[in-house]
Symmetry: C2
DNA sequence: TTGAATTCCTAGTAAAATCATAGTAAAATA
DNA sequence: TATTTTACTATGATTTTACTAGGAATTCAA
């Protein structure tokens, strides 16, 4: 039930961009240094976020990335799903096409509840929420 | 965020034993056949459950396994943790010893919420709950 | 007492996933 | 034109997952 580094790095990356909102395009290397993450690995991760339109990019000198929207308009769930693929605890819940034993499956109800519980958190927490919580705690 | 086969098989195994409560010791092969799971793999899984006292075993002919308690006295969380080790979404939440960046970590609060959400489901669902829900739905 | 059934325990192993690293192409800027 | 930066693909190491194999120990029944 672990969130992979991909997901965790994506979150830290997006939070870093959110905290630097308004500073224009930020080169990925700067984020990588601040977050102490391999910049080449971060590159792969942000690539997905970029293709899905979660961040905007600018090539070349003075280029970099920035959020496409405001921090409060990103849910953690959207970010995690973009890089991790799915947060479902079992694959049957993934694509809507149930497995062949769906009707006789004792456990599917439990897994749905787990999924709903996770979704309830990640879909109702925004990047801004996280930053605000943190600032409130450290002031 | 997937529950591994180990966890899912353990659940099905325990549910199978729960549904056969009162039938004495049940050989693992019977469970394996009913659940269509490799009996050798199940053996490994139940071994952990057995060492932790979740099931009782009897060796030799007419031997097998049975629940150590009643179905309503097992939470799904206990079973999953026994075989999977931990349900925490990140390792920092595992052993209580926080990582070195704990205080400056923006995201730990989020991960705690996710963990609490998952725990809220699995620690408040018993084997008997699952069976009752299923029977209610299929009557 | 022998044989069958069954748990107990340890190793090994193939495939998949994870976590990167490397290198090159393309674009933008100064 | 040189430098900076993203875009994209390929590759590799390590770890985890999901099993498989085999034999020892135990129990029961004939």
């Amino acid at each position: 039930m672990r969130i992979s580094t991909k997901g965790r790095y994506a979150l830290r990356l997006m939070l870093d961009l959110a905290m630097n909102e308004g500073a224009g395009f930020i080169p990925l290397k700067a984020v990588a240094q601040r977050q102490e993450i391999s910049d080449k690995y971060l590159e792969q991760i942000i690539h997905r976020l970029s293709r899905q339109g979660l961040v905007e990019s600018a090539r070349g000198a003075q280029g970099g990335y920035r959020l496409a929207r405001k921090g409060e308009e990103y849910s953690v769930g959207e970010i995690l799903r973009t890089v991790e693929g799915s947060l479902a605890p079992v694959s049957c819940l993934d694509c809507g096409t149930p497995c062949d034993k769906f009707d006789s499956c004792l456990t599917i109800g439990l897994y749905k509840k787990i999924q709903d519980a996770i979704d309830g958190v990640v879909d109702n927490t925004s990047l801004a929420d996280i930053i605000n919580d943190y600032r409130a705690k450290h002031s």
